[in-house]
């Protein structure tokens, strides 16, 4: 009896094995990469549709309204708080009174129905993030929210993964700033960043070794 396989068969077999192996390894690498990609963390994605096209760039950037004017409870509460419609209307009962883009806002006030904003910086429900402590320890808004003052429509600027949180909890120094600069998006440290960071850590009494155990964020 003669050959069962043509000489080409060997080439095919080897090709098959090689592709198989590279696919297997490749898919793992891909998965690991994907988990960090914007697709999964939904950072820097297209801004979601909002009831009203609110522009942080206009309000926080161009008009320079302080974050805390609307997000009132950020310093004393776990959550920053969204402004009640009333807050919007304090100005917009005077300016842009007839603007069609503000119709939903006026409607909300008129028939006492809250505006249904789409959240942008969402954490899983098992993460217990507190704005107040971060503010009081000198972590600027920009650290997690990015340059909101440059966003025409607000989008998530940081991945907000556990890794993202841990990086800062393990080494807070580079992310700290003087308390009076918390809401200043544009603030740049002058002089030695490292020295400043460590000085601030001392002042704020931050002990990283206490910041990485599970119950700091999970309960």
């Amino acid at each position: 009896m003669g050959q069962i396989f043509s000489p080409a068969a060997d080439t095919w077999l080897r090709l098959f094995l090689v592709t198989g192996i590279s696919l297997a390894t490749g898919s793992i690498v891909f998965a690991v990469g994907l988990a960090r990609s914007d697709w999964i963390t939904s950072a820097n994605m297209h801004p979601p549709a909002q009831p009203a096209p609110f522009s942080h760039r206009h309000h926080a950037g161009e008009l320079g309204i302080d974050c805390r004017y609307c997000h009132t409870s950020v310093a004393e509460s776990p959550r920053a708080g969204l402004p009640p419609t009333h807050t919007c209307m304090t100005c917009h009962s005077q300016v842009w009174t007839g603007a069609p883009m503000l119709a939903p806002v006026r409607a909300s006030l008129a028939d006492n129905k809250p505006l249904n904003w789409q959240r942008v910086a969402v954490l899983p429900e098992y993460v217990f993030f507190r704005h107040d402590i971060h503010i009081s320890k000198g972590v600027g808004c920009v650290e997690c929210h990015g340059r909101v003052d440059r966003m025409a429509l607000t989008f998530r600027a940081k991945p907000l993964t556990m890794q993202f949180c841990l990086d800062c909890h393990r080494d807070p120094a580079p992310h700290l700033r003087p308390k009076d600069q918390i809401t200043n998006m544009a603030w740049q440290p002058t002089g030695d960043r490292a020295a400043l960071g460590h000085a601030l850590m001392r002042d704020y009494g931050i002990a990283p070794e206490r910041l990485t155990h599970c119950y700091v964020c999970h309960r």
Binding site: I4, I28, V32, T161, M162
Partner: protein
């Protein structure tokens, strides 16, 4: 391979290489007993189907469908896991340990023993996943660069488990396949139909039996064997740590590793005997799986059984010697408690039922041996159940004592794994040589060499 130390040949030497080759390679190529095989496959497929159904129900509803509770939050899943894994070990021991010891009789058994190992380990392997509360996160047990930056916890016996079982499965597969390649070549060369030729042709990887190939193959095969033996021991010792690492009375004992390993081998050899007996009558292999083989298996069974019995004795001694009030409580509960049947069941099926094996006639009788092996398999199942449940259902605090009652789904999944074992096993004995062809020929060759060396008288005696 070192010559067999048995004076008399294990195989009737009056058979030629050709006959053996045709006989064994012929089994897949023109399969003798289609009907019975199909029936068996059908039944096992039903069980496998049951497994799928149960698994779907399990994953969609939660482990609550089992009889588990606090304190007995481990039961069937874990104890069947241990049981299956134990069965698997015999395959490796037979083919690896006996290879190194140069016991030629193993050559007629190692192939299907290894095959059995593969699927026993597979059955064991799915349990740790089934029993998870959130099985979809099982990959968290592997170290991968997660964005949560948390790693597996390498002090946990469960973590050890994953590595041990996967290693064991991989090594078993490789060992099995490497040993199979020359036979695949033989089948390839016997095959006449194109489909078979390609099938065996690819699997045989183009094995040509060149002297150089054989030399390297020998090195690799024996090296794997040398690794497989400590691996088996480590795997089941490690499984035993799953219990011994806990503080629970009845678990927290240093005797567990050897106790478990021996028990494992014990149950495994029982299953090997059962399969051997069935296969040889199914495929008329009496010339290759002889009564002498059964005899040896019987002896091994008896030996391992007695060692296991020693385990029972020592466990009791250990407890009495320690005098720990909780350990004593557990001992009483085991022997006299609600689940006493599992303890006495183990004693009866694992020890008493074994005693007839002292008689040669019993060992050589397929029926007797099969019956005893069955009892051992049941006995070991009961023993694992006893070790697990009777320790958990009454641990330290009297207030948290509870009960465990297996539910329909507990049994369904267990039955399902039996299907999971037999379906692929039946497929493989349908497709591959069930007995190592070339190793059989090797034995014949060595026997003939012996025969020529030995004086005619002895040869005659040997033939008798």
């Amino acid at each position: 391979m070192t010559a067999s130390s048995d004076a008399r040949p294990i195989l009737p030497p009056d058979q030629s290489y050709g006959d053996v080759t045709d006989q064994l390679a012929g089994i897949p190529l023109n399969f003798p007993t289609r009907r019975r095989w199909l029936i068996a496959l059908g039944l096992s497929s039903l069980l496998l189907g049951l497994l799928f159904v149960s698994a779907i129900v399990l994953f969609s509803t939660g482990v609550g469908i089992w009889g588990l509770n606090i304190p007995v939050n481990w039961a069937f899943a874990i104890h069947n896991y241990v049981w299956w894994l134990g069965i698997g070990h015999a395959g490796t021991l037979i083919s690896a340990l006996l290879l190194l010891l140069g016991r030629d009789w193993r050559n007629s058994l190692n192939r299907f023993a290894e095959t059995m190992t593969l699927f026993a380990v597979m059955c064991a392997g799915i349990y740790p996943i089934l029993h998870l509360g959130r099985p979809w996160f099982v990959y968290w047990m592997f170290p991968y660069p997660a964005t949560m930056q948390v790693w597996p916890q390498f002090r946990s016996p469960l973590e050890w488990d994953i590595w041990a079982v996967l290693t064991y499965l991989t090594v078993s597969v490789v060992f099995w396949y490497i040993g199979l390649v020359p036979d695949l070549a033989a089948a390839r060369d016997r095959a006449r139909r194109r489909r078979w030729q390609v099938f065996f042709g690819v699997l045989a990887l183009g094995w040509r039996g060149s002297a150089m190939h054989w030399m390297r193959w020998n090195q690799a095969y024996r090296l794997l064997a040398a690794l497989a033996v400590p691996l088996v021991v480590s795997v089941h010792s490690e499984v035993s740590l799953l219990f011994a690492a806990g503080t629970i009375p009845g678990w927290h004992s240093t005797i567990f590793p050897p106790y478990f390993v021996l028990g494992a081998a014990f149950s495994g050899f029982a299953v090997v005997s059962m399969i051997a007996i069935v296969l040889r009558s199914l495929f008329r292999l009496h010339n290759l799986v002889t009564d002498d083989h059964l005899d040896v298996l019987g002896k091994v069974l008896l030996a391992t059984g007695l060692m296991t019995a020693y385990g029972y004795v020592f466990e009791i001694f250990d407890t009495l010697y320690s005098g720990n009030v909780h350990e004593l409580q557990t001992l009483t509960d085991r022997v006299t408690g609600q689940y006493g049947w599992s303890y006495w069941g183990a004693i009866v099926f694992n020890f008493l039922a074994l005693q007839p094996l002292w008689w040669k006639t019993v060992r050589r009788s397929p029926w007797a041996l099969f019956a005893i092996s069955t009892s051992v398999v049941i006995g070991m199942w009961l023993e694992r159940y006893m070790i697990l449940v009777t320790s958990l259902y009454r641990d330290f605090l009297v207030s948290s004592w509870g009960e465990y009652h297996a539910t329909f789904w507990d049994w369904a999944i267990f039955a399902g794994t039996i299907g999971l074992f037999f379906v692929p096993f039946l497929l493989l004995i349908r497709l591959l040589p069930v007995i190592s062809i070339f190793e059989t020929k090797e034995v014949l060759y060595e026997e003939q060499q012996q025969a020529t060396l030995a004086s005619p008288a002895e040869v005659a005696h040997g033939r008798a």
